[in-house]
């Protein structure tokens, strides 16, 4: 059976997911959460780092639920390519490009000056292009220097934007969380309103019902019951209309 699936996996256009996805059943996930909680209780004083707690001596079916340690040397391979765990953006100096701006303040600072630099660079782009066109109209062979300038400005611009990426990612996260919060609150509110409405109906019914329980016990006539039933349906209609 296993071999068969292996063969069909080899023949498939898209590879099947790795087989260990089957280990992620709700029961297994619950169990490893319990084990982790137990471990956390034991080693509360020692481990204060933010990494997920590693449980030793796992039963075999839970082994896949524990993420492996990140590679110690900080390098990993994927499809024959070598990648680094932390890949800092190379600075402009490292890339051999002249830095055209004074670097904006430390990452903890505000980013308003960054926008200012970007705007200046954008204006420089246009100006340099104008100069380039001017030079080309006089002597097309003199273009290299100006094109180099343009290139430097473009690279600087993109570099500045790429540096801004993590900031933007956090900002998007904040927006998404805000969204989720709003949705959750709206849902709760909707449920509450519905509940109140239903409770209102029930109360109305209760009033209509009171005489029913009294009277039916006394004479138990069908006509009376029908009457009360009608009252309830009237009440319902009134609520929903």
């Amino acid at each position: 059976m296993a071999e068969q699936s292996q063969q069909s996996a080899l023949g498939a256009t898209f590879p099947a997911p790795p087989p260990f996805w089957q280990a992620f059943t709700p029961e297994n996930v619950d169990r490893i959460a319990q084990l982790r909680a137990a471990q956390a209780g034991e080693a509360e004083s020692t481990s204060s780092d933010t990494k997920p707690i590693r449980v030793l001596d796992l039963p075999s079916e839970l082994r896949f639920l524990q993420p492996p340690e990140p590679p110690a040397d900080g390098v990993w391979n994927c499809f024959g390519g070598r990648y680094f765990l932390t890949e800092p953006i190379p600075t402009l100096a490292e890339a051999g490009v002249e830095q055209l701006y004074t670097p904006p303040a430390t990452p903890t600072g505000k980013h308003v000056d960054r926008a200012l630099i970007l705007k200046r660079l954008a204006k420089s782009l246009l100006l340099n292009f104008l100069e380039l066109v001017g030079i080309m109209s006089v002597d097309p062979s003199q273009n290299t220097e100006k094109i180099q300038d343009l290139r430097t400005i473009f690279i600087n611009f993109h570099h500045l934007l790429n540096e801004y990426r993590p900031h933007q990612a956090r900002e998007s996260l904040i927006l998404m969380m805000q969204d989720q919060l709003d949705r959750s609150r709206a849902e709760t509110e909707g449920i509450m309103r519905m509940k109140e409405k239903v409770e209102g109906i029930l109360e109305g019914l209760g009033e209509a019902k009171l005489p029913e329980s009294d009277d039916t016990k006394m004479d138990g006539t069908d006509a009376m019951e029908e009457d009360i039933g009608k009252g309830i349906w009237d009440e319902l209609e009134k609520e929903f209309s």
């Binding site: 980013h111 246009l126 990426r165 933007q168 956090r170 900002e171 904040i174 029930l202 019902k209 309830i232």
Partner: protein
Amino acid sequence: MADKLTQLQDAVDQLAHQFVASLWYVHKHHDLKKLNEADKILEDKKENEIPDVDKLDPYPEADFKAGQLELARDLIVKEQQIEYLISVLPGLENSEKDQEQLIRQLEEELKEAEVRRQQAVKEKEVVLAKLESVIRSVKRP
């Protein structure tokens, strides 16, 4: 839709493309000038035929000028777009510390809201059950 940073990067790349396209337009569609009355504009002969892409394709002067004007205007518009995008980049006034604080706070609020929602769902179910039992006990007239 892509986020603003990506839009900005795209816009910058488009600006670069427009630079190239503008130069190409001028290069390809300019008219030929006679420096001297006696000059003659030579027709390309068959033997030194140049490939189509390099061939000059002069436009009438009015068309050429109009094209130039449009390209120039587009360049300015693109630059304005870039500046606008820069000014609306998200979170320019937030520092990293602010963001972290905000994220933590939102996380707390989310948890709280989730608890409240769960509670509301439970209450709703109780009320629903009550309503159902009442409806069942009622005979249709």
